[in-house]
């Protein structure tokens, strides 16, 4: 950034923001409001930090296992690797809805997992580097500077599910590439975890809003990040992970649009997804507040999350098969219904109850 970069520290030294008189921001709704500062605090300590810490730990574990497997020429498709990949995938899905803060730096979000990938960039770019035996992808440091499609879980999943290598040299190259991906994942997830520590810039700014804070002017604005994460997380789950692969009817299903379908871990990832959004809803203290002002709403939301988890446990085939299985399809459709219902209630009724209606124009880049 050089000449243009203005770090936040200098901003703290400047005077108060002189804005207005203008149009005052009008208060939303009437009556009691939740303690926004407490919601943010509880979300960070009870949900965000533990979830990123699980992600970093699972990545480290996978990296160790990968290293061992490569050393003994076992390749990248052993059951142990598949199992720890599943752990990382679930851990990633558990933080995937958190799209603010340290994960936004250095394109970390996209580098951890490049999905959805409608143009098959991962496949196209990977074929090229595999054919060329591109040495820059077998080193975590140089890989980190390559295309995001070559770096993360989507690329790793492909390596793990490819047709077997034709010769030893190719097998070794794939293994080295897989190691670089896992080392890179360790680096990214550890950095995100570290940047959420209490003494770091972002969490400090999130917790101490004010007129001179460059990111949040009051606790309500900070709490909006929590509400946005919940609502957008449910929307992503509904639209991308269920509607897109399931299609309107069984005949129109396109199960290969599902997340992690190649490794057969889609259903585990869906389970982690409902689980983590429910955790955000409860650990943030939002559930407890809603219970005190609108018990029915809280009960409806909790029941929907629980129903989704129970339904998932009853699907005994991989997602790709279940999506087109006449007997299992109703369960899949029910999941989709629950996700949509949770999303609509959360962005509507729940957001209103909390005084955290999402900005119409502020939501996404246009």
């Amino acid at each position: 950034m050089r000449g243009y970069k203005v770090l936040i520290f200098s901003l703290f030294a400047t005077g108060a923001v002189n804005i207005g008189p203008g149009v005052a921001a009008e208060a939303e709704g009437d009556g009691a409001k939740p303690d926004y500062a407490a919601i943010v605090q509880a979300t960070v300590t009870g949900h965000i930090r533990p979830a990123y810490s699980r992600m970093a730990k699972a990545s480290k574990n996978l990296a160790l296992i990968m290293k061992a497997a490569c050393r003994t020429d076992e390749g990248v498709t052993t059951p142990t690797i598949t199992k720890s990949f599943m752990d990382v995938a679930s851990a990633w899905v558990s933080v995937q809805h958190i799209r603010f803060g340290p994960v936004k730096d250095e394109n970390r979000y996209e580098r951890i997992s490049f999905w959805p990938d409608p143009k098959n960039l991962t496949s196209r770019q990977m074929s090229a580097v595999l054919v060329k035996r591109d040495a820059t992808v077998i080193n975590a440091e140089t890989l980190a500077k390559k295309s995001i499609a070559l770096q993360g879980l989507t690329a790793l999943e492909r390596l793990m599910t490819m047709a077997p290598a034709e010769d030893r040299e190719e097998a070794v190259f794939r293994c080295e590439y897989a190691q670089a991906i896992t080392d890179n994942l360790v680096q990214i997830s550890s950095s995100v975890e570290a940047d959420w520590a209490a003494d770091k810039d972002f969490p400090r700014l999130l917790g101490t809003p004010g007129p001179e804070n460059p990111l949040y002017r009051d606790h309500r604005e900070a709490a909006l990040e929590v509400m946005k994460s919940l609502s957008a997380g449910l929307q992503f789950l509904h639209e991308r992970k269920l509607v897109a692969p399931l299609g309107e009817t069984l005949e129109k299903a396109r199960p290969k649009r599902a997340e992690f379908w190649r490794s057969g871990t889609t259903l585990d990832a869906l389970d982690a997804n409902f689980e983590t959004l429910m955790e955000l809803y409860t650990k943030s203290g939002i559930s407890a507040y809603v219970k005190s002002v609108d018990e029915g709403l809280d009960k409806t939301l909790m029941t929907s999350y629980e129903q989704a988890l129970v339904t998932l446990k009853g699907i005994e085939k991989p997602f790709v098969e279940a999506a087109t299985d006449k007997a299992l399809r109703p369960k899949m459709d029910y999941l989709r219904f629950l996700a949509e219902d949770l999303q609509l209630r959360s962005s509507g009724n729940l957001a209103n109850t909390l005084g955290l209606s999402l900005g119409f124009n502020a939501l996404d880049g246009d």
Binding site: V6, V23, A25, E26, P116, G348, D366
Partner: protein, 367 residues
């Protein structure tokens, strides 16, 4: 007045979708009052997408339905027709007679293209130019539609960049200026940014008859994650371009630039106490009628900033979720996602319940 449901709107497209009562209201108003009227996309009751016509003092004169959420609009010179584009990755643009509310035409996008949400007409109103995504070709294009021939798509130009967004005709009438946001997207991954690491934003000046690139200005490398998306053109050819920052949240790049066809981007910065309130995100920009000022909205920060024609910061006005803005008779008119219509002159505010005004506002000719 109640908006039609989406299903109704789809069924009725091609016919009148503005209730005749509303149209009469708008006409009656236009005979009665002074000051321009305004057109914007809007969403009612949290889900019914449409558009609205507003008076200068914020009165809601008419509403009409759209099949999906709308975005930018353009007025056809010499007529009272206007086109509203679907919000990206939308697949329609709707032309309507703003005087009667009759739908003139629903323009579908080509199957392998989608609209980005903005466009403009040629000076004689014959050709409509629209920014579009050739998503399989991974490039932005400008679609050309013959307004005299039922908006038949008659061709396309490359936009000489990725992710074109707002576009305008330069005062010479022969040059298009396009804000290429630089972000690659695909309709199968709606709103997922596929190339943040390799973004290439630019402002391109393109020959409106040949499609040739005349000049293209790009931010310096350290600002390559500055997505230049919106622009406004002044009578003397000065362009104000505003951006959304896709880089690290704690960095504070300049978000606003002035440029002419022949000179590069001259970045402007707000005072340190105001800049962070823009939240690294500008939603809309417009010059005042006399060109002596321009206004920029930052909906995430709930802030409108006013700048001199020389690019110097003047003042800021708080408006929660404020995004739409346009030159009014005197100053600017602003709209917000919370149903507010206000202006910098009177600072009086009018609020419409249950309606959210969308990102952009344009002034209409008097019918």
């Amino acid at each position: 007045m109640k908006l039609l449901t989406r299903r109704h709107a789809l069924g009725l497209c091609g016919g009148s979708i503005l209730s005749s009562l509303a149209a009469q209201g708008a006409l009656a108003h236009s005979r009665r009052e002074e000051g321009p009227l305004f057109l914007t996309s809007a969403t009612r009751d949290g889900g019914q997408h449409g558009g609205a016509i507003l008076s200068s003092d914020g009165e809601l004169l008419a509403e009409f339905a759209l099949p999906e959420r709308g975005h930018g609009a353009a007025l056809r010179p010499g007529t009272r027709d206007a086109v509203i584009f679907a919000r990206r990755p939308g697949t329609f643009a709707l032309v309507l007679d703003t005087g009667t509310g009759m739908t003139r035409q629903l323009i579908p996008s080509r199957r392998d293209r989608h609209f980005y949400g903005h466009g403009c007409y040629s000076r004689d109103g014959a050709i409509l130019f629209a920014t579009e995504n050739d998503f399989d070709g991974e490039r932005g294009v400008i679609g050309l539609y013959d307004a005299r021939d039922g908006y038949r798509r008659v061709g396309e130009f490359p936009c000489h960049g990725i992710g074109p967004h707002e576009m305008a005709l330069m005062p010479d009438g022969r040059t298009l200026v396009v804000a290429n946001g630089g972000i690659l997207t695909h309709p199968d991954a709606p709103r997922m940014k596929l190339n943040l690491a390799e973004m290439a934003p630019s402002i391109a000046f393109i020959d409106a008859t040949s499609g040739d690139l005349l000049l293209r200005h790009t931010p310096p490398d350290e600002l390559r994650q500055l997505s230049l998306r919106h622009l406004s053109v002044r009578g003397d050819g000065c362009v104000a371009a505003v951006a959304q920052w896709e880089g690290a949240v704690l960095e504070q790049p300049p978000l606003i630039a002035l440029l002419d066809r022949d000179t590069g981007l001259r970045f402007q910065v707000a005072p340190p106490a105001v800049a962070p309130r823009m939240r690294n995100y500008c939603g809309s920009v417009a010059f005042s009628k006399d060109g002596e000022r321009f206004a920029v909205s930052s909906p995430r920060g709930g802030l409108i900033t006013i700048w001199g024609g020389d690019g110097n910061y003047r003042e800021a006005i708080a408006l929660e979720d404020g995004c739409g803005l346009a030159a009014g008779a005197g100053g600017f008119v602003f709209t917000s996602g919370r149903g507010v219509v206000t202006s910098d002159g009177s600072r009086e505010m009018r609020r419409h319940e249950e309606i959210a005004f969308d990102n952009h506002l344009i002034a209409l000719n008097r019918p």
